[in-house]
């Protein structure tokens, strides 16, 4: 097959109404009546399995019962007790593989209680209705803690520390706080600038100062922080993006999916964003799904996800895969990139090679290839930590990520870490929130206990 000599990447593929429609809330909130009816489905299980399945251990039966009893504000407090970013988690958690998978109604009927949407109902109601923050600070301790990174882990850690009466300064390299919530999640999952509303909500507790545009290793050093502050928490995330490592990767049209998502989230006019007509996304995680879905919603005609292993191996949940498929994305399994075709400096095609597992379970190419005409190739094959800024602080790493103990303490006695930058993490917002919470409690114990 011949690969075309031109590529078709342009903006304004759709009418403005289509953009608004495509990027509206993908799971609209429950109406109050729907919430009551859904809440009534909860059995208020003993030692509820959903609670165990939640990385932040929210008392799910209790918050649902409070909705049922007409007290969504009290319900939200139950959620915030364990997860101050409960509003975002309600939107982005893969509930189908967490709380809702464990729901006994899933076992009984294959229809779990819609825990995520109920959580959203409670937290949205709280944030719309309540003027005051749900927590009060303890008496000032005089202790100062530096938090690096204003993503889910950093915000969660800062909030918990602030409730204990500590003063927190967050150093954030980007212009806005929120991290993944602000830059890394599909737009239709968190509409109406919710990420920034949530940052405001979290910091309303007081005692948290965010310094945007301050990058570790550039504007501040870890040594400095460790000596200027009583403790340091690192919520660095994964700033690097894995490369395909093949010729033509620097051609026009070969795009980091993470960048694409970030640009889209920051765009004020979606119709001004350029997108190809034919797209291939390489990868099998949530980022691949988000990028594929959103390019489709921006007007791309043919969007294919190529993943080198089978459906069951994909990091994106089955539900996420189905969501992409029902939006017209084709997912091709057992396919890895073989070569890029470039013409006039722009990518015009990609050759994919079929893969298989050999007897020892090792993945290899079969030699059989397929070539697709493309205008854009999105790389979504994982993000990498950047240990650069840690230099000189003597922090032990494990596979490039920061090693911590159960309390999220690093090998450095004054430094804790959490979220995607630590070893063994699951790369989930909700897990990062839990890391921040655990680290904050550990820091509090170390400073006060």
């Amino acid at each position: 097959m011949t690969v075309s000599e031109t590529s078709d990447v342009k903006a304004r593929r759709l009418s403005s109404a289509d953009y608004a429609d495509n990027f509206s809330d993908i799971h609209p909130p429950l109406t109050p009546h729907e919430a009551l009816v859904e809440a009534d489905r909860c059995y208020f299980c003993y030692d509820a399995p959903c609670m165990t399945a939640c990385p932040t251990s929210i008392d799910i039966p209790m918050f649902i019962r409070k909705i049922q009893a007409g007290n969504p504000v009290g319900s939200a407090k139950t959620i915030f007790d364990e997860n101050i970013l409960g509003g975002m988690c309600a939107r982005v958690c893969p509930t189908e593989t967490l709380c809702e998978e464990a729901c006994v109604r899933e076992a009984a009927e294959g229809k779990p209680v819609k825990i995520g949407l109920l959580q959203r109902h409670a937290t949205d109601t709280f944030m719309e209705r309540e003027q005051s923050h749900p927590f009060q600070r303890a008496a000032p301790t005089g202790k100062k803690i530096a938090v690096v990174g204003a993503g889910p882990a950093g915000l969660s850690c800062a909030h918990r520390l602030a409730t204990h009466g500590h003063d927190v300064t967050i150093f954030e390299a980007r212009e806005k706080a929120g991290g993944l919530n602000e830059y890394g999640i599909a737009a239709y999952k968190t509409t109406n600038d919710f990420a920034q509303d949530e940052v405001e909500f979290v910091t309303e507790i007081g005692g948290i100062n965010i310094e945007n545009g301050k990058a570790l290793g550039r504007d501040v050093t870890l040594d400095q922080l460790a000596s200027d502050y009583d403790a340091v928490f690192l919520g660095l995330g994964l700033p690097g993006v894995n490369a395909l490592g093949m010729e033509g990767e620097d051609a026009n049209g070969v795009v980091d999916a993470v960048d694409f998502i970030g640009v889209l989230r920051q765009a004020e006019d979606l119709s001004a964003l350029e997108v190809g007509r034919r797209i291939v996304v390489i990868g099998g995680g949530m980022t691949a799904i988000d990028a594929a879905m959103q390019s489709k919603l921006l007007g791309a005609e043919e969007v294919t996800i190529a993943y080198r292993r089978g459906q069951e191996h994909m990091n994106a949940s089955l539900y996420e895969q189905e969501l992409a498929q029902t939006h017209g994305v084709v997912i091709r399994h057992w396919m890895m990139p073989n070569s890029l075709h470039v013409s006039n400096g722009a990518v015009t095609g990609i050759t994919l090679e079929r893969t298989e597992l050999d007897a020892s379970g090792k993945l290899s190419g079969t030699g059989e290839t397929v070539t697709l005409e493309v205008d854009q190739v999105f790389k979504a094959i994982g993000q990498t930590p950047d240990a650069g800024p840690l230099a000189g602080a003597d922090i032990a790493l494990e596979k490039g990520r920061i090693r911590t103990d159960e309390a999220r303490r690093t090998s450095h006695p004054k430094i804790w870490a959490g979220g995607d930058c630590i070893a063994g993490g699951e790369d989930l917002t909700v897990v990062s929130v839990e890391d921040g919470k655990i680290a904050a409690e550990s820091i509090h114990q170390a400073l006060i206990g």
Partner: protein, 436 residues
Amino acid sequence: MADLSTNFLGIKSPNPFWLASAPPTDKAYNVERAFEAGWGGVVWKTLGEAGPPVVNVNGPRYGAIWGPDRRLLGLNNIELITDRDLEINLREITEVKKRWPDRAMIVSIMVPCDEQSWKAILPRVEDTGADGIELNFGCPHGMSERGMGASVGQVPEYIQMVAEWCKQYCRLPVIVKLTPNITDIRYPARAAKAGGADAVSLINTISSIVSIDLDNFAPMPTIDGKGSHGGYCGPAVKPIALNMVAEIARDAETRGLPISGIGGIQTWRDAAEYIALGCGTVQVCTAAMTYGFKIVQEMTQGLSDWMDEKGYATLADFQGRAVPNVTDWQHLNLNYITKAKIDQDLCIKCGRCHIACEDTSHQAITSMVDGVRHFEVMDDECVGCNLCVNVCPVDDCITMVEMTEGTDPRTGRPIDPDYANWTTHPNNPMAKQAAE
């Protein structure tokens, strides 16, 4: 197909489903629609004495309790008897009965508790061609404050007295509608029978406040900031009504007295239960007010299908069959032993049974076995109370299994196959010893 026709006090109707005296039977328009929909009979909404009709409030008349999806569970009302002119009602009753000769037409009546008032109205009702009369001794609000309704129904002597007047001045069968707002329903029922009444119907509504508005701190329904008790009805009252019906059905003095059952009848099954407790007809109101008259088609079809399945050709085939099985606690078999059993294949592991038993009962259900979530009954602790069955969300997942032989692991005592009750139990100081 089963024969649903009834003959209650000589009053024939094609099926036992009558509309109770209430708003649905207040005028010809509604009753015509009801008969078209298939109702077997109606009890026309209570007539008062000649003269200016009663006056209702011009605001909300109903309060309610709901399930989470707004399913109506209980309703109360502060309505009074018909607020339409007596002459109009009598004329319409006459016309409707003429058009629907095969349907039961009962007229509910409530006039002051003096002989003259009853003597005056009875012949006029009789002239309509109605099949029977029902004496409203039950309405708990408004009319009771004027010495009628429940205030009469709470005094057995008055019931007897009025029943006697009705039998004296009227050829029609007399049904006395009883109020549940009384300690022991047997006394008014006995009085009705003593007064010569042909039947009783029950229950009328229960005095109630269904809710308090927490914004203006007034009972619902609220009339200009104030509320009054109303009469409670709907599915929520059925258990109370069934018990009262059973009490009358099995009382030595009233046994065999015809009963028209009323209270929370929503489906054919509810009706079948009333009939099994001896009722000859049933009266429905809230279900019709909730869903409209068409529901009678579910009721007649359901009852008929069930009867076919069970092999009952007529209502008489099962009417009263449950009465002998209603007894006093002291006659229950104390040697009957059951243990709960959880079907592990059906169990969805919600743990409700465990926590109900653990916190509030007998600590007889595990929550974890070999380190995994597992709910199982410990027979040596289980008293057989069946709370777990009632809280389990899965049908038939937990069942009560009778032990017929061996030893009860809880008490260590052998299972005694013989019946024995409290009257002869050694712990009963009143136990009657068999003669030596």
